[in-house]
């Protein structure tokens, strides 16, 4: 139920046009990149898709996590701005369900964004290169991997927004987190486990399984942290 409510709330803050805009912008990156630079040389990488991801994924991810950060702080801002949160607390629903509703909502929205982006990558692969037969499978694997690595970032952004009532604080902290993520080296395993840095990873590394496990563990840890933090906040206030 909260998921449907979130959809309605998001509609009123103009979320969907912004989502479409950011998806199209991110999807335009690989296409524009090829048009401006001429064809990208993908002979060095395993497949056209890997070559395209290598050339564009940094910028696309940057847009994705910035969008997640902005939308997470806005979704909570709408609740805090006119004290809607206090009214929500009086309803016969679990306090955490607002958080889960929002998490599910942004995750589904990220899925849509990634779908648009990977369609653009597929378009580039078919239009400018000749992909192999296993291309669809490879595309799906990359898609699932990117989606899973994006989820810890979604949960952390929402967690920050839940505990900062003013929008500039939550947005500011998220922006600082994005900044940290851009500073961290992507080739060092432990440092790249920072939730905002995880989405920058691509499937072509040999460390797929460790990253997947790490993403799942982070999700669990973040959700447990949220539960504990909500309990502490309730006992203090």
């Amino acid at each position: 139920m909260t998921f449907l409510l979130e959809c309605k709330k998001a509609k009123r803050i103009g979320f969907y046009p912004a989502l479409i805009g950011s998806s199209i912008l991110a999807a335009a990156i690989p296409i524009l990149n090829i048009i401006i630079r001429g064809e990208i040389d993908v002979t060095a990488s395993k497949s056209p898709l890997q070559g395209l991801l290598g050339a564009n994924w940094q910028l696309m991810t940057m847009l994705n996590i910035l969008f997640i950060a902005a939308s997470a702080s806005l979704l909570y801002h709408t609740e805090y701005a006119d004290n809607a949160m206090q009214k929500l607390y009086t309803l016969p629903i679990h306090e955490g369900s607002v958080f889960y509703g929002k998490t599910l909502f942004i995750s589904v929205m990220s899925l849509l964004t990634l779908t648009v982006e990977f369609s653009a990558l597929a378009f580039c692969s078919y239009y400018w290169y000749t992909p192999e037969n296993s291309f669809i499978l490879e595309l799906c694997q990359n898609f699932g991997y990117s989606l899973l690595l994006l989820l810890p970032c979604v949960v952390l952004a929402l967690l920050i927004s839940e505990f900062c009532q003013s929008m500039w604080m939550s947005l500011g902290i998220c922006v600082v987190c994005v900044f940290i993520a851009t500073m961290l080296p992507t080739d060092q395993f432990l440092l790249s486990l920072f939730p905002f840095a995880l989405p920058f990873q691509m499937l072509d590394t040999a460390q797929t399984v460790p990253y997947l496990c790490a993403a799942c563990t982070e999700l669990l840890i973040l959700i447990v942290t949220e539960k504990i933090a909500v309990k502490i906040r309730r006992s203090i206030s």
Binding site: I13, G14, F15, P17, A18, G21, S22, L25, L59, M62, L63, L66, F67, A69, A70, S71, L74, H77, A81, D82, S166, M167, W168, M169, L171, G172, I173, V175, V176, V178, F179, I180, T182, M183
Partner: protein, 256 residues
């Protein structure tokens, strides 16, 4: 009410916003890796840049690329949202003050926030350079005059960018668009700096200026240099236009 007292009122409004904390944390995060990797600065001598200049310029580039514009977007959110929540802006608009003046006062606060962030970053630079000097026994500290010139240029080149961000937040009522467009506009600035028409894109100015300084300091690295024409006329025009538009439309939605 004169303009100065308006500006001081605007400062009072953001007094408890804790925005300086975000500036401070971002500066610490900016310089921490530079201090940890200070020895790498010596390897850049092959490019014809001295270690102390390399230390300084790499940090400044790191900030001018993303953190500085992004925290200015956060600053516009701060300035607009403190009043939109609890309808403070409607009360301000009922006062006998011209809205253009009110808008300009807020813009002055925004530029001051930019200056404060640059100063905090410079302070952190001196602290981290002093630490490196101790650690590696090499003079990392640069003359204050040189640093003052660099940060002065950074600040001046950021004013058009601030005007554009401020225009976005005054024009667009839905915060997700003003914030989203602001943040998204930072991402392509690296691309745009490599084109000939970089001067049409105010958001990339600070990064362009710092990158061109890098090219000046490093003998073997060629970066695009600042050419004052047509940059200055275009930048002036864009700034005046952006500030004019934001003054014209400030509080437009509330007055309807």
């Amino acid at each position: 009410m004169n303009f100065l007292s308006l500006v001081s009122i605007e400062f009072k409004k953001i007094r408890r916003s804790k925005i300086l904390l975000i500036f401070f944390v971002s500066s610490v995060i900016l310089w921490l890796p530079s201090v940890l990797n200070a020895h790498l600065n010596f390897e850049m001598q092959a490019e014809g840049i001295s270690p102390e200049h390399n230390f300084m310029i790499q940090g400044f580039m790191g900030m001018a690329w993303f953190m500085f514009p992004a925290s200015m977007v956060v600053g516009t959110v701060l300035l607009s949202q403190t009043e939109i929540t609890n309808r403070g802006i409607q009360k301000m608009l009922t006062l006998p003050i011209s809205t253009a003046k009110l808008c300009m006062a807020k813009f002055v606060v925004l530029t001051t926030l930019a200056a404060v962030q640059i100063l905090i970053m410079t302070g952190m630079y001196y602290i981290s350079a002093a630490i490196c000097q101790r650690m590696l026994d090499y003079p990392f500290l640069l003359s204050p005059l040189f640093i003052a010139k660099e940060i002065g240029m950074l600040f001046l080149s950021s004013i058009p960018m601030l005007a554009v961000f401020w225009m976005l937040s005054a024009l667009i009522q839905t915060p997700i668009f003003s914030v989203g467009i602001g943040l998204a506009s930072i991402v392509p600035s690296v691309f745009i700096n490599n084109t000939k028409l970089w001067y049409c894109y105010p958001i990339s100015y600070p990064f362009f200026v710092i990158t061109s300084e890098y090219g000046k300091l490093a003998e073997h690295i060629d970066t695009a240099q600042v050419s004052l024409f047509p940059w200055i006329p275009v930048a002036l025009f864009l700034t005046v236009a952006a500030v004019g538009i934001s003054c014209r439309y400030f509080g437009h939605a509330e007055r309807k």
